[in-house]
């Protein structure tokens, strides 16, 4: 299954490179575009992992919803000044070192536990039919968290409206 | 002008200055409007005019009376006949002559046809501005009929120069009455057709009702005339108040509106077209025989004096102020164009509305830039 692996590495490379571009571009519109690219390649990875429902959700909600919101806000607030300013704050190197330490930590952990994280033990077909399974799990086992999530969305919606409304 | 500070460099976070025109599809020519917007809401406006200024009034002071007549056709170029009537009657008043009855009857018929043509053009473009693509083709179909009558009568369609000082240059052609009667017979059905497309249309109502309200007091303060004034509920029509041509001979009503919004202005103009038809029908049935030219000399040389004569043009009060010093040229000539004065109401009407309404309001005032800029 060489095709499978090639797809994975290509998508992973695109995701990482455009993620780097997200945090290095001066212009937030460019950042947003590269974030969209990252999200799309992550959606592709979901497809590989037999999570096609989540891939669709990723595209509809994340890209079609959240990212549009981001772009909308970027267009609303006029950022001509920001684009010309220094994009990073003064303590960037401390942050960088700390983050790299975090990365090293994660990498070491994963490396040590690589046996446990080998290829899946069970056949992946167990995740099919994906949509039905997710639906049943979500509405039966996780009914309460689901309702809480909807409450969270409601609160967020009301909060966002109140904060963004002009006085 | 510039009362909202367009020159100010730092505006609020959400405020932008949007320049509409002079090359914008909905400014009806070369009107330029600067809008101060908060989001899409209009906080202020400034009309910048003069892109079509040709100095028509000054030209009038350098031409013999007769030679200036074709120029007035080119002020409100979609209602040339009305312009000609106003100018000719002003000079006739100065001369102290009156056109013979037959001439006055024909003048009335042609002027009312011109009113219909002008309103049709307004209706089509106004609807087009609001996004209805189709009415403009229907209205142009009927306007074509009117223009054909003009063409047969005087050879020109747009800038007709139909009238002469003292009466008419040409006798009506054979079949003039039949043509006019046929038009008057067919046209009501067409108006019904337009009204079917627009008057009851929910979207049209939403786009025009309560948009660009001009109260009666505001309208009078701003000197607004014509359908815009009447839509605000003021029953003022020069055809009734100071009858000219043959208007005192005919029965017709002055349609008025109640709210002074864009929808009322629409309704008033639709009603006016029906009233014009009434006048035309009465007039064409009773055209008297007789001469078509009063006794005026070959060279028109009015006695010294001044006169102001105004008529009810399709767009409002069209006035000519002519001062004679006894020579063959006016010593001063001034046109009171309805579009120019009505455009003053634009800022009052537009404040607090959205950009889309700006377009509707420019349309509803019914301006012609040739007349605004002269």
């Amino acid at each position: 299954m060489m095709f499978y692996q090639v797809t994975f590495y290509v998508l992973a490379a695109i995701a990482v490179v455009s993620a780097l571009l997200v945090i290095t571009r001066r212009n937030p519109v460019h950042s947003a575009i590269f974030l969209i690219v990252t999200l799309l390649s992550v959606a592709g990875l979901y497809l590989q992992l037999q999570a096609e429902f989540l891939a669709a959700v990723q595209i509809i909600l994340y890209i079609g919803g959240v990212m549009v919101l981001f772009l909308f806000v970027i267009l609303l607030v006029n950022l001509e000044v920001t684009v010309r300013q220094e994009p990073f704050n003064r303590m960037w190197w401390i942050a960088g070192v700390a983050a790299l330490v975090l990365l090293a930590e994660l990498a070491i952990t994963y490396y040590l536990g690589r046996q446990a994280f080998a290829t899946p033990v069970v056949s992946a077909a167990a995740l099919q039919p994906n949509t039905e399974l997710i639906g049943r799990t979500l509405y039966q086992t996780y009914m309460l968290p689901f309702e809480m999530a909807s409450l969270l969305l409601l609160v967020a919606m009301v909060g966002a409206v109140i904060m963004a409304r002009r006085r | 002008m510039g009362d909202f500070g367009v020159t100010q460099t730092v505006l609020g976070a959400d405020e932008i200055v949007l320049n509409m025109g002079p090359q914008h599809p909905s400014t009806h020519g070369v009107l330029r409007v600067k809008l101060k917007l908060d989001g899409e809401k209009v906080m202020g406006s400034e009309c910048i005019i003069g892109y079509l200024h040709r100095g028509v009034e000054k030209i009038g002071e350098n031409r013999p009376y007769t030679q200036f007549a074709p120029y007035v056709d080119r002020t409100d170029y979609v209602a040339a006949v009305s312009n000609g009537l106003g100018y000719c009657e002003a000079v006739e008043k100065l001369l102290g002559v009156e056109a013979p009855p037959r001439a006055r009857w024909v003048r009335t018929i042609l002027t009312e046809l011109q009113r219909i043509a002008s309103h049709l053009l307004w209706l089509g473009t106004h609807a087009l501005d609001i996004g209805a693509l189709t009415p403009v083709f229907y209205t142009f179909r009927e306007r074509e009929e009117v223009l054909k009558i003009f063409e047969r009568y005087c050879g020109a369609r747009l800038t007709t120069h139909a009238f002469r000082i003292g009466g008419l240059q040409y006798e009506t052609y054979d079949g003039f009455e039949e043509d006019v009667k046929k038009f008057a017979r067919d046209f009501p059905k067409r108006i019904d057709e337009y009204e079917e497309l627009l008057t009851g249309n929910r979207i049209w109502l939403q786009r025009t009702k309560n948009v660009g309200i001009l109260t009666a007091d505001q309208a009078i303060d701003l000197g607004v005339t014509g359908p815009v004034l009447r839509a605000s509920g003021v029953k003022w029509d020069i055809r009734k108040a100071f009858p000219y041509a043959a208007y005192d001979q005919f029965q017709f009503e002055i349609p008025t509106g109640a709210n002074g919004d864009t929808f009322d202005r629409y309704l008033v103009r639709m009603q006016e077209m029906r009233q014009s038809l009434r006048i035309i029908e009465q007039a064409v049935d009773s055209i008297p025989a007789g001469p078509i030219m009063a006794r005026v000399g070959k060279v028109i040389k009015p006695p010294p004096g001044e006169v102001y004569h105004s008529i009810e043009a399709p767009k409002g009060e069209l006035g000519y102020f002519v001062v004679s010093d006894g020579t063959i040229q006016p010593s001063r000539l001034r046109i009171r164009p309805p579009s120019f004065i009505n455009l003053q109401a634009f800022d009052t009407m537009v404040r607090g509305h959205l950009v889309a309404d700006v377009v509707a309001i420019i349309g509803t005032i019914d301006i012609v830039l040739g007349e605004v800029d002269r």
Partner: protein, 100 residues
């Protein structure tokens, strides 16, 4: 088959990039976008493990994460707009007053 550990490395990389973005960028909008990156890294983990364990619960939790991300973006951008109205800037290091 790509081993799960590769997904975990990818996720770790995205997480780190996101963290760097949150810590170093001055523009609040980019900071919010970096948070989205972090949340995505989490989702990759959840779904990779869901495959390894052949359990759909990882997917369910990823859905919750996306919900939270949507809520976070809405509130965050709401705050940002309110802030921009008052201060005319979206730089994190200029957000230094507790009230205005």
């Amino acid at each position: 088959m790509v081993p799960t550990s590769h997904y975990l490395f990818l996720s770790a990389a995205l997480l780190t990039i996101g963290v760097i973005g949150v810590l170093t960028r001055r523009n609040l909008i980019v900071v919010l976008m970096s948070i989205e990156l972090i949340l995505n890294a989490v989702n990759i983990n959840l779904i990779a493990f869901a495959r390894q364990l052949a359990s759909v619960e990882g997917h369910v939790f990823a859905i919750f994460v996306i919900t939270v991300a949507a809520a976070e973006a809405a509130v965050g951008l709401g705050i940002l707009i309110a802030f921009f109205r008052n201060r005319e800037t979206v730089n994190t290091d200029e957000i230094d007053l507790l009230k205005w």
